[in-house]
Homo-oligomer: 544 residues x 2
């Protein structure tokens, strides 16, 4: 290649004024988010005209591959829209923003432009994303020599999706302000962790379907691949079951308007699937179930402790296991994902302890510990889902902490306490683990607080390599107490971006934080141009 | 009147379970926000059909009063929209929400409905709101006896505006879910403080005109009456001056798209005026002026301290006073409000101290204290605006703290440190004061944090009655570092509501906090029905 490599941009500050610990050798990180596994950026670029640009699939038999076709349409629109928005501004913005936005602003040869991104795909046309799917790809943009080529290669449709996203990160406004430029680069990328999730909570506040779709748009932009849908909880039951319509009929905030019909759910699953995002539902039991009780009498434990009328699911009522078997059977048929989250967190034992029938039942079995009673319940539920339905399960950490006998396929999700100690304990016991403890998006602080999420390192715990291989990834959690459709997207993005990069990009403790700040700024503006109302990540500024 | 008064609703809890410090006698506070000065609510209501309901002005010569006509149109739409939204939900929502939303749910006589709200107005048709305007009104709704009447009386158009807002707070969904009901009430209302403001900051992030209009909508809903427009600062200069186009040409983030033209500003002022909201601009000097320097060479002090290139306005350059006189002259002609905020906060003295010309100038005048130099500057600016332009001024507290000789009409705005001590000092010196210290909306905490703003009492400081009369009100401050058009409205509302009620309603340290929570919930839903994306104030829940 005739282009000059600038793998290492040696930053020599011209004055002592700017000396700081950052005055080391700094790699040019471009405008990526998240950073690819490995990449070389070149100091040359070529114009892209959306009127003539197209995605060109070499294999003719892929015309019917829905995931790819939808992706080409989607990213053509993204590129076209970006172009029109960026060109509205063109050269007018204040000079010092150039530094801020890392624009290349190179003069382009007006007679050269990139005609297509060649898609070199050699896999199956899969339709549903799944745990462990192949998301790796290679992207080569060579703009200097004729024929100027851009080639995206992957053996998986999911890799093509991730590569298309990365391709848009190579786009910049040209120096003359009249066209988009594509930067030359050589990228070899794959994720560090397979499970990169975001939890949403539609029980504390209902979220309209369009809001959830907007969240999925933002997830795709950040290469997140699991929407963990905490769909029901104490406050409301918006899941409209076909078998048990009373659950939402009595338990939703509004049984007509504030529910998810099966058609709604299927639309969300499809919307997510074509973006390479799994939709994993959580039906949390035995606690967090107040709203279930309205439409399913007998399900909840009657409390005699004068604080609440009803407590967790009654674990000694055999009818309840029949009900849950039937409900979960419906759920696993509606949600095609291979995993069902069973919850199991924050079970309050006071109500069980107040109930004479439960006490009697336990005495008859020489059971004295309520954690054991919880284990008894969870074990039965896990058995139904794992053994009968052959569906993998995820549980919150208490289930492990309380000693439930888990299957190898069950993932334990850490969310509270010291996460390093917890991940060590979970993986030492041979269980797979997910990390959420350090990525609670409902905790607020003044200013741009994404940096605290960026400090979290999933494999920082003491433990063997074998243990660390059991960490499947993590999830940021957007619990719903303080968010509804007015503010949830803004609160997720760009704060979740921090977790997204930690889960996708290689571990790098010495990454230059000023470059990270700049990249998250650029990516936030990118999301805004796509209609995702991401809030400002750092301090003052503006988007083109 | 034949209706039964329920001034005091004696809450006798049926069980010890619910005993708490709230089990006192609690007045029914209805669904008001902010609470009126005095009111009696009756346990009767009458249907309102938006198809036949109208505002009926007794005086025929008021047909041409723009403020009133626009208000009638606006509130007719609000009532019509509320009706259609509420009736979509009707009786379907879950029962336990009834308690939450304090619905009356009374069965209404289907043959009776309110045909009009009689407007009894006896003042001038004023067009621009001003400091100290009369906002008092009386509202009487008598629904039991024929003829059923609702009468809104005021001697001021501003009182009529406030009364129309309050009238909508008497609307509830009827028990049959088929109509709006208006609750009988007798209300005598006027604000506790004259100056009830909200500061917005369009320098750290540009806010589109439509966003500012939406903020004004929310201000009207909360009876706030001053939009303090911190329009320029270090980061950008979006004010497009006719006399000095280079200021925004060089100092705005984008000189074409991220500026406020004079037409934009006039549209905002008019939009605010018809809602009884003043627009008071702030042009903060001598600090916070970095962006001014790009388009006005010589304005800023050259620094020799190797930290910044330029510092605050250069106070020894006489040309700068000519420039500021001309600029302020333009500003006071574009902004009709009687007050101009001159800023004066956070002046960094290091740059002045580094400049040999300034040091020399000070030595020649036996001046050793940089606070004195700041005073010298501010004094000249205040003199221009107050004496030459006969426009009142507001300054941040440092100007007072540093001993500038202020006019009686100048208001000092407290924003930092111990606000009780500061208000005592300001008013002891005979100056008028505004409080902002406890109402900084940019400080974030997890969960619904409006309660910390609600705890702030403007007259809690030690001081004479005469001193307390000098407190003209306060302002909540939405500084712009972390907010742009994606999240600013959500972050202001309903958090600013707390300050709005403290500034409008009578002092009441024993107000039942659970009722306040319920009222702010209801008012948040009311704002959402009007298209203002107010975020959830408390915990989980939903809006009809």
């Amino acid at each position: 290649m005739a282009v000059s490599k600038i793998i290492l941009l040696l930053v020599i500050y011209s004055s002592l004024l700017f000396s700081s610990i950052d005055a080391f050798v700094v790699q040019d990180q471009g405008n990526f988010w998240p950073l690819p596994k490995s990449y070389v950026l070149y100091n040359s670029s070529i114009a892209l005209k959306s009127s003539v640009f197209e995605f060109k699939v070499v294999q003719s038999d892929l015309n019917k591959c829905r995931i790819l076709n939808e992706a080409f349409k989607r990213y053509s629109k993204i590129i076209g829209d970006s172009l029109s928005i960026l060109l509205r501004h063109g050269q007018n913005s204040r000079k010092y923003s150039h530094h801020h936005h890392h624009s290349l602003r190179q003069v382009l040869d007006p007679n050269k432009y990139l005609e297509h991104l060649e898609i070199n795909f050699s896999g199956l046309c899969e339709t549903l994303p799944y745990f462990g799917m192949n998301e790796s790809y290679r992207l080569e943009v060579d703009t200097e020599k004729a024929p100027r080529t851009a080639i995206l290669s992957s053996r998986s449709v999911w890799g093509i999706l991730r590569g298309l996203e990365t391709f848009t990160h190579l786009l910049e406004v040209s120096e003359d302000g009249l066209s988009l430029a594509v930067r030359s680069a050589s990228i070899d990328d794959s994720p560090r962790f397979s499970h990169r999730g975001l939890l949403i909570d539609t029980s504390r506040h209902f979220l309209p379907v369009d809001t959830i779709k907007q969240i999925i748009d933002g997830m795709e932009a950040n290469k997140l691949n699991v929407l963990h849908w905490h769909i029901v909880d104490d406050q409301s039951f918006p899941y409209q079951s076909e078998l048990f319509p009373n659950l939402s009929g009595q338990g939703a905030y509004d049984p007509r308007l504030l529910v998810y019909t099966i058609a709604d759910i299927q639309a969300i699953i499809l919307y997510a699937a074509v973006r390479g995002v799994r939709v994993m539902p959580e039906f949390d039991t035995p606690g967090h179930t107040t709203s279930w009780g309205f439409g399913q009498p007998g399900l909840l434990t009657k409390c005699y402790n004068l604080v609440n009328e009803y407590g967790p699911v009654n674990p000694i009522n055999e009818d309840n296991y029949k009900f849950l078997r039937d409900l979960f059977n419906e759920i696993i048929h509606i949600f095609p994902d291979g995993y069902l989250h069973l919850g199991g967190d924050e079970v309050n034992f006071d109500c069980w302890a107040s109930n004479p029938e439960i006490k009697n039942w336990m005495t008859n079995r020489n059971m004295t510990d309520y954690a054991k009673l919880e284990s008894f319940y969870i074990q039965k539920i896990v058995d139904i889902v794992e053994k009968e339905f052959r569906t993998n399960t995820i549980v919150w950490q208490e289930v492990f902490d309380n000693g439930v006998n888990l299957y190898n396929s069950t993932i334990v999700q850490a969310w509270t306490g010291n996460y390093e100690k917890e991940l060590d304990r979970i993986t030492k016991a041979g269980h797979k683990a997910l990390l959420s403890t350090c990525w609670y998006l409902d905790y607020l602080e003044t200013g741009g607080d994404w940096k605290k999420y960026y400090k979290c390192e999933p494999l920082s715990f003491q433990g063997s390599d074998e243990q660390k291989r059991l960490v499947m990834g993590g999830e940021a959690c957007m619990w719903g107490e303080s968010v509804d459709e007015t503010n949830v997207v803004q609160r997720i993005f760009p704060r979740v971006n921090a977790a997204a990069e930690k889960l996708w990009s290689p571990k790098d403790d010495f990454r230059n934080i000023h470059q990270v700040e700049s990249r998250i700024d650029v990516h936030t503006c990118r999301m805004k141009r796509r209609g995702i109302p991401a809030q400002p990540p750092n301090g003052p500024g503006f988007c083109l």
